[in-house]
C-alpha cells in the first residue's frame, strides 16, 4: 500500500497542493494587511502584527480571500441554498453547463463532418484546411459578447447564442484531430482493404472510423474544456443574468471578491469533472474495442 503510494503521483501532488495553499495564505496576509493598517491608523490605534493576522483572514471584501472563506461561500451557495434559487451556485453552474453541452455536441458533429469531408475530397482539403486554422486565430472569445448582443437583437436569445460560441471553439480541435485520425491507417492496411474489394463506405466504417477513435477522444477532452470557456465568456455581456460568467461580472461590479473566487472555483470544478468524464468514457470505449493499453 505504502509502496504503491510512494511510487505513484499521489504524494507529490498532495505536497504541491499543500505548498500552494500555504503560499495562498501567505499572500492573503501580505495583500490584505495594508487595509487593516490603514483602518488602525484612521482609528489612531497601534496595531501589532499578531492582531493583523487573524483580521486579514476574515475581511468582508478582501483583496484576496482566504481559501477557507471561499470554501465557506461555496458551501453556503451550493448545499445550504435551494437549487432553484437565483443565489444558488448550482443553479448558475447548471445554466452554464447546459449551453456548454449543447455547443459541445454541435461542435463535435460539425468537426467530424468537416474532417470526413476533408479526408475524402482533395479540393476541400486544400481550400478549407487553411481557413479552419485561420478561423482559430480570430479571437472569437473577444467578439463573443457582440455575437450575443446581435443575436439578441434579432430575437434569438437564451441558450443558443452561447452554445454557438461553444460550438465555434470546440469544432476546431475535433476537426484537426479527426483529420489526423481518419488518415492514421497506414498503406498496408488500406491495401488489405483493397484486396478484400471493400467499397468506400466499408473502408470508412471498418477501417478509418475505428482507427480514428483514440484521436477523437483526445480532441474531445480539449474541445469540452474550450466549450466551457466559451459558455462562460458568452455570459459576460450585461444582458446575461444567470450563469457562472454573469456571477463573475456581478462580483466584479460590486467588488465581491469572495463571490468571484467561488464562481471561479465552481468553473474549475466543472471543467475538471467534464474532462474527467470524457476520460472515463474514453477508457471504457477503447476497452470495448480492444484498443486499451
Amino acid at each position: 500500500m505504502l509502496k504503491t503510494l510512494a511510487k505513484g503521483s499521489t504524494i507529490p501532488v498532495l505536497v504541491v497542493t499543500t505548498a500552494i495553499i500555504v503560499f495562498w495564505y501567505a499572500c492573503v496576509v501580505w495583500l490584505n494587511a495594508p487595509f487593516e493598517r490603514d483602518q488602525a491608523e484612521r482609528a489612531k490605534k497601534e496595531i501589532t502584527f499578531s492582531q493583523i493576522l487573524p483580521k486579514t483572514m476574515e475581511q468582508k471584501r478582501p483583496v484576496l480571500p482566504a481559501p477557507h472563506q471561499v470554501v465557506r461561500e461555496i458551501w453556503k451557495t451550493t448545499v445550504l441554498k435551494n437549487v432553484t434559487s437565483k443565489r444558488s451556485l448550482v443553479y448558475h453552474a447548471w445554466i452554464t453547463l447546459s449551453s456548454t453541452l449543447l455547443g459541445f455536441a454541435f461542435g463535435t458533429l460539425l468537426g467530424i463532418a468537416l474532417a470526413v469531408g476533408i479526408v475524402h475530397s482533395q479540393t476541400l482539403d486544400k481550400s478549407l484546411m487553411p481557413w479552419i486554422i485561420t478561423s482559430q486565430t480570430i479571437p472569437i472569445l473577444a467578439i463573443a459578447p457582440m455575437i450575443i448582443v446581435v443575436l439578441n437583437a434579432v430575437g434569438i436569445s437564451g441558450l443558443l447564442p452561447k452554445a454557438f460560441i461553444s460550438m465555434y471553439l470546440s469544432f476546431f480541435p475535433v476537426a484537426v484531430g479527426m483529420v489526423k485520425g481518419l488518415r492514421s491507417p497506414d498503406i498496408m492496411q488500406l491495401d488489405l482493404m483493397h484486396t478484400y474489394n471493400a467499397s468506400k463506405a466499408q473502408l470508412f466504417w471498418k477501417l478509418r472510423w475505428p482507427s480514428s477513435i483514440p484521436f477523437l477522444f483526445t480532441s474531445l477532452k480539449v474541445a469540452i474544456a474550450a466549450s466551457l470557456v466559451g459558455a462562460i465568456v458568452g455570459e459576460l455581456p450585461t444582458g446575461a443574468i444567470s450563469g457562472l460568467g454573469a456571477r463573475l461580472l456581478a462580483g466584479s461590479y460590486y467588488g465581491q471578491t469572495i463571490q468571484i473566487w467561488s464562481a471561479l472555483f465552481m468553473a474549475a470544478f466543472l471543467a475538471a469533472s467534464l474532462v474527467w468524464l470524457v476520460g472515463v468514457i474514453d477508457r471504457r470505449v477503447l476497452k470495448r474495442m480492444g484498443m486499451a493499453q
Binding site: S9, I11, P12, V13, L14, V15, V16, T17, I20, V63, Q122, T123, D125, K126, S127, L128, M129, P130, W131, T134, Q136, T137, I138, P139, I140, L141, A142, I143, P145, M146, V149, V150, A153, V154, K221, V222, A225, L228, V229, I232, V233, L236, L244, G245, L248, L249, G251, S252, G255, T257, I260, W261, A263, L264, A267, A268, A271, A272, V275
Partner: protein
C-alpha cells in the same frame, strides 16, 4: 465556377517547388475571396440589415476611414498588453519548467496540477486582475501572463522528456554535464513542443487581453472599442476591429510558425 477552378487546381500535380507553393497559396485565397463575394452578394441581395451583418465593402470603408483609432487601439492592446504578457508568461513558464525538470518529485507533483489548470477557464481571472492592477494595460498583461504560463510549462516539461535513452546515454559517454546535455540534446529535442505552446499562446494572449478589457479599461483598446461600439450599434466598426484582431492574430501565429520552420527543419513533419 470558382469551385471548378479550385478543384482543377488542387488535382494538378506540380513537380517543382515554387509553382507548387504558389498554387497551394492561391487555392485557399480563391476560396476566401469566393466567401467574401458570397457574403457581399447575400447581404445586399437579401437586404440583411447592416446592424446584423454589414457587407464586407462597408467594413472596408470603415477600416479606411478610422485608421488612427484602430492604430491607437492596436498599440494599447497588442503592442503593450499582449506582447509584454506573452513574452513574460512564456519566459516564466519556460524557466519554471527547467527548474521543475531537475526534480522528479516536483515533476510528478506539479504536472497533474499544471495539466488541470491548463484546461481551466483562466479568462475568469480577468476581473480579479483588473481589481489588483488597475484599469490600464498592466492588468491585461497580467491576465495574459497567467494564461500563457501553464501551456508553456506543461509543454516544455513534456518536451524535455522526449530525448531518448540512447541519445542521453551517448551524451554520458561524451562525459557531458547536465547543462551540456540540456542545451545540446534535450532543448533542441523539446523545440517542437515548445513551439506548439508558443503557437497556442499566440492566440490565447490576444483573447486574454481583449476579454480583460471588458472588465474596465481606459478609453482606448480593442476590447473597449468592441464593447462600446456594440452598445451604440455601430456594427461595422466592430467588424473593422475584428478584422484587425484577426489579421494581427494570424500574422502573430504565422510569424511563430515561420520561426518554428527555421529552427525545427529536422522534424519529420517538415522533411
Amino acid at each position: 465556377m470558382a469551385w471548378l477552378l479550385v478543384s482543377n487546381l488542387s488535382t494538378m500535380k506540380i513537380k517543382s517547388y515554387i509553382p507548387r507553393t504558389i498554387v497551394n497559396l492561391t487555392i485557399p485565397l480563391i476560396f476566401g475571396l469566393t466567401l467574401l463575394f458570397l457574403w457581399e452578394v447575400l447581404t445586399r441581395g437579401l437586404g440583411v440589415p447592416s446592424i446584423l451583418l454589414p457587407p464586407p465593402s462597408q467594413i472596408g470603408v470603415r477600416i479606411a476611414n478610422s485608421l488612427p483609432i484602430l492604430a491607437a487601439d492596436f498599440q494599447q492592446t497588442f503592442l503593450k498588453a499582449v506582447l509584454f504578457g506573452y513574452v513574460v508568461g512564456c519566459a516564466t513558464g519556460f524557466a519554471i519548467a527547467i527548474v521543475v525538470d531537475r526534480s522528479p518529485f516536483m515533476r510528478k507533483g506539479l504536472m497533474p496540477i499544471g495539466n488541470l489548470v491548463a484546461a481551466l477557464p483562466i479568462v475568469g481571472m480577468a476581473p480579479i486582475m483588473v481589481m489588483w492592477f488597475g484599469f490600464d494595460w498592466q492588468s491585461k498583461a497580467a491576465v495574459v501572463i497567467v494564461m500563457t504560463f501553464f501551456p508553456m510549462l506543461v509543454n516544455t516539461v513534456a518536451g524535455l522528456s522526449t530525448a531518448g535513452h540512447m541519445e542521453r546515454d551517448l551524451m554520458r559517454t561524451y562525459a557531458s554535464n547536465y547543462w551540456q546535455t540540456l542545451f545540446k540534446l534535450r532543448l533542441p529535442a523539446a523545440l517542437p513542443f515548445i513551439f506548439n505552446a508558443l503557437k497556442i499562446n499566440s492566440t490565447l494572449a490576444l483573447i486574454g487581453a481583449i476579454v480583460a478589457e471588458f472588465f474596465g479599461t481606459p478609453i482606448v483598446g480593442m476590447g473597449f472599442r468592441i464593447s462600446t461600439e456594440v452598445g451604440r450599434m455601430n456594427v461595422d466598426m466592430v467588424w473593422a476591429e475584428i478584422a484587425m484582431a484577426a489579421l494581427a492574430g494570424s500574422l502573430f501565429y504565422g510569424l511563430v510558425a515561420l520561426i518554428e520552420r527555421r529552427l525545427t527543419f529536422w522534424h519529420p513533419s517538415y522533411r
